[in-house]
């Protein structure tokens, strides 16, 4: 189901691309991923549980959860939610075991790239880090797994908060375009190289001002290996949506709220016709409103906490469209055998326990989970950066100082990967990491600008909604001051 008209976005008619799914001929559109083209054709079962053989669809939609792995042109384990659709490709579901590839392998020797700074992730933090470091005279390689840069900004159709400096009043999608414009300008001048559809597979060597990373870039279904040698690295690989436990939580039709936002706002595909939203934080409230804008009904929002966690203004927008928000309520189970056909919601008591007899059955074909995010820190763990579990940051994060440098000299972290927060603060953290890296490499001495960025960040975090990140960042920077035993 494609979105035909939208109050904010223009989905123009794009070139049709023919492909096959389990030998069945299908048609997608230029700009689709394999998974979005399948969804548009009504195919939501992409894989099966290894253990129970039950059907599964994608959960995250941004290449993190592995629920979309399929066989494409004979190559197993392709992340179909971020793999672009190409004319004539053969898409197949995998069995319990993916099987060995029957594709032909071409051998290419690896290519070496030497830069001052490697930035991993081209979301708000990574884009700002790359632009900042390059504007200060450093040479930069920016790597992202997705087909386009912008990270999660490219699906944020709402206007951002903050001040003029943080581009307040501008929609996230337009902030992405503006930042990409700055990036492409620096690319034309030769200061930045941008690699999309590329994955940093690991760090292979680290010495003072000399780090080596392996990067695999995909071009259609051919892969190229790069040996990236950099003096500093900024890890800004974002976060992953959380799952909650309830029977049926892996059925096709249960998505992370961000996955649905990607599907409808980036690819113009409807996830379903009637949605239950779980979670009334800003993500749950904003995505619910955007579902309405895409012409999809929202049955209700349930929130386990006794109060709405997101901004009141976002809740008010939903309420005046007639969408109820039930606090102290949660989802108990999903109804349906091989796809979502409804759900049972239940009231919770003051100890967050289900109240017996309060169950209510509702009809819906889609369930969105907006129950928080967890920082993506696997690359930082592999590099060996010291990590700590900080509940207020959303999980385990790399300990870092106020300039975003981790326990490893020359390795920085920024944005949600350094603790869950907002896109506006992620952009400033990216600027801080980019500038701090350029300063440490002797490319600039602009300490004044660095102090300014710190003040901007402090201001954004000063209110009651900034309390959690304030606590998280205080704990993290205090830990950074403690010398740790090195392994």
């Amino acid at each position: 189901m494609r979105i035909q008209s939208h109050p904010i976005l223009d989905f123009q008619q794009r070139k049709k691309l023919a492909f096959s799914f389990n030998a069945q001929p299908l048609v997608g559109e230029q700009g689709d991923t394999i998974a979005s083209a399948l969804h548009a054709a009504g195919i939501t079962t992409l894989t099966h549980s290894v253990r129970y053989d039950s059907p599964r669809g994608f959960f995250c939609g941004i290449g993190k959860c592995s629920s979309c792995l399929m066989r494409v042109n004979g190559i197993p384990n392709v992340r179909t939610c971020i793999a672009p659709l190409h004319e004539g490709i053969r898409v197949e579901t995998q069995g319990t075991y993916a099987g060995l590839p029957d594709a032909e392998f071409q051998t290419h020797s690896k290519t070496t790239i030497r830069v001052d700074v490697l930035v991993v992730g081209a979301g708000p933090a990574g884009l700002c880090a790359a632009v900042e470091a390059a504007s200060q005279g450093a040479t930069v390689l920016l790597v992202d797994e997705n087909p386009s840069v912008g990270g999660q900004l490219i699906k944020q159709t709402h206007k951002f908060f903050g001040s003029k400096k943080e581009r307040a009043g501008t929609r996230g999608i337009h902030i992405a375009t503006e930042l990409e414009g700055e990036l492409r300008g620096l690319e034309q001048q030769g200061h930045v190289r941008v690699m999309t559809e590329a994955t940093v597979i690991g760090c292979y060597e680290r010495r003072a001002e000399h780090h080596r990373f392996g990067v695999v870039q995909r071009e259609q279904y051919t892969s190229y290996l790069y040996d990236v040698q950099c003096r500093a690295a900024i890890i800004a690989c974002g976060a992953m949506e959380n799952m909650v436990l309830f029977p049926g939580n892996d059925l096709p039709g249960v998505y992370g709220a961000g996955a649905v936002q990607t599907l409808m706002n980036v690819y113009g595909v409807k996830p379903g016709n009637r949605v239950l939203m779980v979670g009334a934080g800003n993500v749950g409230l904003i995505v619910s409103y955007q579902l309405l804008q895409a012409g999809i009904a929202v049955d209700r929002v349930v929130e386990a906490a006794p109060i709405i966690g997101g901004y009141h203004v976002h809740a008010a927008k939903l309420r005046r469209c007639g969408v109820p928000i039930h606090t102290s309520h949660s989802i108990k189970e999903v109804l349906g055998d091989d796809k979502v056909q409804g759900a049972v919601v239940v009231a919770l008591d003051e100890h967050w326990r289900p109240k017996p007899g309060s169950e209510e059955r509702i009809t819906c074909d889609t369930i969105c989970l907006a129950v928080g995010l967890t920082p993506s820190t696997r690359l930082l763990a592999q590099i060996g950066a010291h990590q700590s579990f900080i509940p207020e940051a959303g999980g385990t994060v790399a300990v870092h100082d106020q300039h975003m440098q981790t326990s490893i000299k020359g390795v920085y972290v920024a944005g949600d990967a350094s603790g869950i927060e907002e896109a506006s603060t992620a952009m400033i953290e990216g600027k801080i990491a980019g500038l701090a890296a350029a300063v440490s490499l002797g490319r600039t001495k602009n300490q004044k600008l660095l102090s300014q960025y710190h003040r901007d960040l402090e201001q954004l975090r000063a209110g009651p909604f900034g309390e959690k990140p304030r606590i998280a960042k205080t704990k993290i920077t205090q830990l950074a001051e403690v010398p740790h035993a090195r392994v």
């Binding site: 001040s163 307040a168 203004v313 927008k317 007639g322 209110g463």
Partner: protein, 153 residues
């Protein structure tokens, strides 16, 4: 705990309400009561009626200075500003609207309150495009002027 934290719906006691005279002149009601880091309304106001102690403080509208020009309505990222102007037994409500279809002046639409309930029919008086946000003025009965905050076309 304030009720709106649980319901998402403001009551008149959560707001600083204008006087009858100010309402007759037409003023912007800022339905933004929490401390969130945001200030585009302050920059948008041509007569400097909207102020903030700092970026996290809720905005305050000086109803004496406010001219009801509605510049702030299409700017507010939270879509939380409404201009109310009372004219005898009728009132004009200017509100932000981000849905399709976009109505035209003269159309009759449903006037919805803060919980999305249709309260009465309203006539569209004016439609102004501010980027992708439509700023729409509708006429309703004065009795529901402080309740109507949305329309359904």
């Amino acid at each position: 705990m304030r009720a709106y934290e649980r319901t998402g719906v403001l009551s008149p006691t959560d707001l600083v309400l204008p006087t009858k005279q100010q309402l007759e002149k037409g003023v912007a009601i800022l339905e933004c009561v929490q401390e969130i880091p945001c200030n585009p309304c302050v920059d948008a106001c041509p007569v400097h009626a909207i102020s903030m102690k700092d970026i996290n403080a809720p905005p305050v509208n000086d109803y004496e200075k406010c001219t009801g020009c509605a510049k702030c309505v299409g700017v507010c990222p939270g879509l939380a500003i409404f201009v109310v102007k009372q004219q005898g037994t009728k009132a004009l409500i200017t509100l932000p609207y981000e849905f399709l279809p976009v109505p035209s002046p003269g159309d009759v639409v449903q006037a919805l309150d803060r919980v999305g309930a249709a309260r009465q029919q309203a006539t569209v008086k004016k439609v102004v495009k501010r980027g992708k946000t439509m700023v729409i003025t509708v006429e309703v009965d004065a009795a529901v002027a402080m309740d109507i905050r949305n329309i359904r076309v």
